[in-house]
C-alpha cells in the first residue's frame, strides 16, 4: 500500500454546552464532557450522550451521518448546521435549537414551521 496509511486516530476531549428546555422562557444549558475520535460529527457525540450521560436528550435524525434526511439541523456555535456534518472539536461547542420560538423540547423544533436550512 502506497501513500498514507492510517494510524488509529487519537482520542480528544470536547465539552458540549447544550440548550435544554421546552420553550423560550423555560430552558437552560447542560454541559457534558465527551471523548471523541478525530473526524467524528456532532451527531456522533449527541448519540453517544443519549447512551450515557443524557438519556433524555431530545434531538432528531434519521439517516445518521449521510446528510440526506436533513432532519438534524441545529445551531452549532451560533450557526445553523447539520449535526451530521459538523465536526466535533476540542474545547467548548455550544448547541442550540434552530429557534427558541419553535422549540418543542431541547433541540427538537416543530417542523411545521421549519424554514431555516443550513446554507
Amino acid at each position: 500500500v502506497s501513500g498514507t496509511v492510517y494510524q488509529a486516530a487519537s482520542m480528544r476531549s470536547a465539552r458540549l454546552r447544550i440548550w435544554r428546555g421546552t420553550g423560550p422562557e423555560n430552558g437552560h444549558y447542560d454541559e457534558f464532557d465527551l471523548e471523541f475520535e478525530d473526524g467524528e460529527s456532532v451527531l456522533d457525540g449527541l448519540v453517544r450522550l443519549r447512551h450515557g450521560a443524557a438519556p433524555d436528550l431530545a434531538f432528531q435524525f434519521s439517516c445518521l451521518n449521510a446528510n440526506v434526511c436533513k432532519e438534524c439541523a441545529m445551531r452549532i456555535d451560533g450557526a445553523v448546521e447539520y449535526a451530521c456534518v459538523a465536526k466535533l472539536k476540542t474545547g467548548v461547542t455550544q448547541i442550540d435549537p434552530i429557534s427558541y420560538q419553535r422549540v418543542m423540547r431541547d433541540l427538537v423544533i416543530d417542523p411545521r414551521k421549519r424554514h431555516t436550512t443550513p446554507s
Binding site: 500500500v1 501513500g3 423540547r105
Partner: protein, 626 residues
C-alpha cells in the same frame, strides 16, 4: 374522552408534525363527544402548549387523549415502498393515511440509496425482464420465490419511466436515452441512477411531491405505531402514539400495508437509517403473519471503515467501484481476490456474498488493514477520471481529509439489507387478511442473496402492487368495528410503558446498543452454533426480562426513550427470528455462512418459515433439518 375525527376528503398539504395538527391543518374538525362540538384545533394547541410548558405529562392523563383516526388503507412507513403504496392506493380511490416514525419521504432507507436501481430498459444494449429474472434467480442461490422475483423484474421498467415523468432526472446518454451501468452479478448494463450518488434523494423528492399534492393521502409524521389490531383473523387497523405529545393514536382501517423497512439497525455496524428497527417484522409476527428466510442478511462488502467519514453514506464505495473499478488490497498491499476464485477482468463484478467472504477471510488470516479491514485504492487512476465520476462528492471527501489520488481508504463488510421478511402472495398480502407488506420488509424475491440494484425495484414495484391490491379490497366496505374491547390490550401496553418507571433499570437506548453489539459479534456474516446459541439465549432473556425493567424518563414531548422501548421490543422479535433461522439452517448458502457447516446442501434448498405461537418463535425447519 375519546375524540373521533372524520377523515375529510378535502385537500391536505404535506404536514410535518404531530398527528393531530397534521390531520387538522387549518380546518375545524368536528368532535363527536356526545353532542358537544368543539373547535378541536384550539383544544389540541392548548394541550400542546400546556404539555410543552411542563414537559411532564399528568400522571393519569393518558386516557384523556386518544386520537382516533379512520382510513380505507393505512400505510406504515414513508420510504419508497410506502409512498408508492399510498399513491397507488389513492389512485384506486382509497382514503389513505401514510405514516412515518420520522418524516415521510425523509426517514427510511430509500433516501439513502446512492446509485443503482435495476430495470431491464434496454437503453444501452439488448435486455429483457426475463434476463433480469435469470440473474436474480442465479444470485438468490436457489431460494428465490419465482413469482415475486418475476413481478419485480417485470414491473421495474414501468416504474422507472413513471418516476422520469415525475421529474426524476435519471443520468442520460448523449442521445438522450437513459444511461445504464452493469452492477455486480448482472449480465447486462441494466442499472439506472441519478448523479451524483443521488438516486434515493431524487426518488424521494419526486414521491414527496406526488404524495403531498394528492388529496386522498393524509401524511402523518412522527407517529410511532406499536401494534397492529387484528379481529377475527383480519387486520382492522393499528394503534400507536404521537411522538410529539405521547398521545395514544388509534387508526381503524380495512387494510394495513407495512412498508417500514428492514431490521438492519439491530446490527452495530450498519448502513441502515436510524428507524429501520424491525418494526414491521415484530408487528407482523405478533399479528399472526409468517416471516420467511430471516437468516439471510446481506453484508455489504465495501462498507466504509476508516478514516472517519461524515456527511456521506458508508455504502459510497460500491457505486464508486461500479464506475471506477478500484483495487482491493490486503494489509500487505497485495491484491487477494484471486485467492478466493475471483480472477476478475479489470471490472468490478464480484458477487456480494463472495466478496464479503474474501474480505473476512483475509482479515481473519491476519492480513488486514490498520483498522481491521482491507484497503481500497483508486490511486492508479488519473484525478480527472475521479472528478468525472464523482463530481461534487470529491468535495465531501476533501472535507473528511480523504484524497483518493494519494491514499487508499479502508473498507469492511457492513450489515446492509434483509433478504428475508414477511411472507406475502403476489398481491403482497400476508396470511392475515387485510395485512399487506412491501419493500425490504418482504421476504422471498431475493432468496439467499440480493442482486445489486434490486432493492429499489423491490420498494417501488411491490409498493405500487400492495397499494393497488389493498385499495381494491378495502374501498367500499364499511369501516371495521372495534367494539368488544378491540385494540384495548394494545392501547393498554402503551399506557403501561408510558407510566412512570418503577425501576432504576438501564435506558432502552443502552439495551438497544447491547443488542446491536450482540448481533454484530455473534450473528454476523460468519456464524457458528455456539455463537448463535449465546445470542438466542441473551435475546430471549432481553425479551422476557430486561424489557420490563427499563427506565423511561417521564417526558411527554419527543420522548425518544419511549420510541426506543417499542423499537427494542420489535427489534428483539426480528433479531430472534434471524437467530433461530440461522441456527436451523445447518449449511452455508448465499449470505448465510456457517463456519461449522461450510458446504451448501441440496436438501436445504428450501425456504424457512417462522411464526410466533404463544410467544415462542416456531420454525418449520427444526431438528436435524430437512
Amino acid at each position: 374522552v375519546q375524540i373521533l375525527l372524520e377523515l375529510p376528503g378535502a385537500s391536505l398539504e404535506e404536514s410535518s408534525c404531530g398527528v393531530v395538527e397534521s390531520s387538522l391543518r387549518g380546518q375545524r374538525a368536528s368532535i363527536r363527544q356526545g353532542k358537544i362540538s368543539v373547535d378541536f384545533a384550539t383544544a389540541v394547541n392548548r394541550r400542546r402548549r400546556q404539555r410543552a410548558s411542563t414537559g411532564i405529562k399528568p400522571k393519569d392523563a393518558w386516557m384523556e387523549n386518544i386520537i382516533a383516526l379512520e382510513a380505507d388503507v393505512v400505510v406504515v412507513g414513508g420510504g419508497g415502498a410506502g409512498m408508492f403504496a399510498a399513491i397507488y392506493a389513492a389512485r384506486h380511490r382509497a382514503r389513505v393515511i401514510l405514516i412515518d416514525k420520522n418524516l415521510v419521504g425523509r426517514g427510511g432507507a430509500t433516501i439513502m440509496a446512492q446509485m443503482t436501481c435495476a430495470a431491464a430498459l434496454a437503453e444501452m444494449e439488448p435486455d429483457s425482464p426475463e434476463l433480469h429474472f435469470e440473474d436474480t434467480l442465479e444470485a438468490g442461490r436457489g431460494l428465490c420465490n419465482g413469482s415475486l422475483a418475476a413481478l419485480l423484474c417485470e414491473g421495474s421498467p414501468q416504474r422507472i419511466r413513471e418516476l422520469a415523468n415525475w421529474r426524476v432526472n435519471w443520468a442520460r446518454q448523449e442521445n438522450g436515452k437513459i444511461h445504464q451501468v452493469k452492477a455486480p452479478g448482472h449480465t447486462r448494463k441494466r442499472c439506472v441512477y441519478v448523479d451524483f450518488l443521488s438516486t434515493g434523494v431524487a426518488i424521494c423528492a419526486a414521491l414527496r411531491r406526488q404524495t403531498s399534492k394528492d388529496s386522498m393521502i393524509r401524511v402523518l409524521n412522527n407517529l410511532c405505531l406499536t401494534d397492529l389490531v387484528v379481529r377475527d383473523g383480519e387486520a382492522v387497523g393499528a394503534v400507536g402514539f404521537d411522538i410529539a405529545t405521547s398521545d395514544a393514536v388509534t387508526i381503524k382501517a380495512n387494510a394495513v400495508i407495512l412498508c417500514s423497512g428492514g431490521m438492519m439497525k439491530m446490527f452495530r455496524r450498519t448502513t441502515a437509517p436510524n428507524n429501520n428497527t424491525g418494526d414491521g417484522v415484530g408487528m407482523a409476527l405478533r399479528a399472526g403473519a409468517r416471516v420467511i428466510d430471516m437468516e439471510f442478511v446481506q453484508f455489504y462488502p465495501n462498507g466504509h471503515l476508516a478514516p472517519r467519514m461524515v456527511g456521506l453514506d458508508p455504502t459510497t464505495w460500491e457505486p464508486t467501484r461500479v464506475k471506477l473499478g478500484g483495487r482491493l488490497l490486503n494489509g500487505q498491499g497485495d491484491e487477494f481476490l484471486s485467492r478466493y476464485g475471483d480472477y476478475g477482468d479489470g471490472e468490478y463484478n464480484t458477487a456480494r456474498d463472495l466478496l464479503t467472504h474474501a474480505i473476512y477471510s483475509e482479515v481473519a488470516a491476519g492480513r488486514g488493514s490498520t483498522h481491521g479491514g482491507v484497503y481500497l485504492s483508486f490511486q492508479h487512476l488519473p484525478s480527472d477520471a475521479l472528478t468525472a465520476a464523482l463530481g461534487p462528492v470529491i468535495t465531501i471527501f476533501q472535507r473528511n481529509n480523504i484524497d483518493l489520488t494519494k491514499m487508499p481508504v479502508e473498507v469492511f463488510p457492513i450489515a446492509h439489507y434483509q433478504m428475508g421478511g414477511i411472507q406475502v402472495n403476489t398481491q403482497m398480502e400476508t396470511r392475515v387478511r387485510g395485512l399487506y407488506a412491501a419493500g425490504e420488509i418482504v421476504g422471498g424475491a431475493n432468496g439467499a442473496n440480493r442482486l445489486s440494484g434490486n432493492a429499489l425495484p423491490e420498494a417501488i414495484v411491490f409498493g405500487g402492487l400492495a397499494g393497488e391490491a389493498a385499495a381494491k379490497s378495502a374501498v367500499g366496505r364499511p369501516p371495521p368495528r372495534w367494539d368488544g374491547g378491540t385494540g384495548a390490550t394494545e392501547l393498554d401496553l402503551i399506557r403501561r410503558v408510558k407510566a412512570p418507571a418503577k425501576t432504576e433499570g438501564p435506558s432502552p437506548a443502552r439495551v438497544l446498543a447491547e443488542l446491536r453489539e450482540l448481533m454484530w459479534t455473534k450473528v454476523g456474516a460468519f456464524r457458528t452454533d455456539n455463537d448463535l446459541v449465546q445470542a438466542r439465549n441473551r435475546i430471549f432473556e432481553m425479551r422476557n426480562s430486561d424489557l420490563d425493567q427499563l427506565s423511561i424518563p417521564p417526558l411527554a414531548v419527543h420522548n425518544a426513550s419511549l420510541v426506543e422501548w417499542f423499537e427494542l421490543r420489535n427489534g428483539l422479535h426480528a433479531a430472534e427470528a434471524v437467530v433461530v433461522s440461522a441456527l436451523n439452517r445447518r449449511e452455508s448458502r448465499g449470505a448465510h455462512q456457517r463456519l461449522d457447516f461450510p458446504q451448501t446442501h441440496e436438501a436445504y434448498q428450501v425456504n424457512q418459515h417462522i411464526e410466533l405461537i404463544k410467544g415462542e418463535m416456531v420454525s418449520d425447519l427444526q431438528g436435524d433439518g430437512p
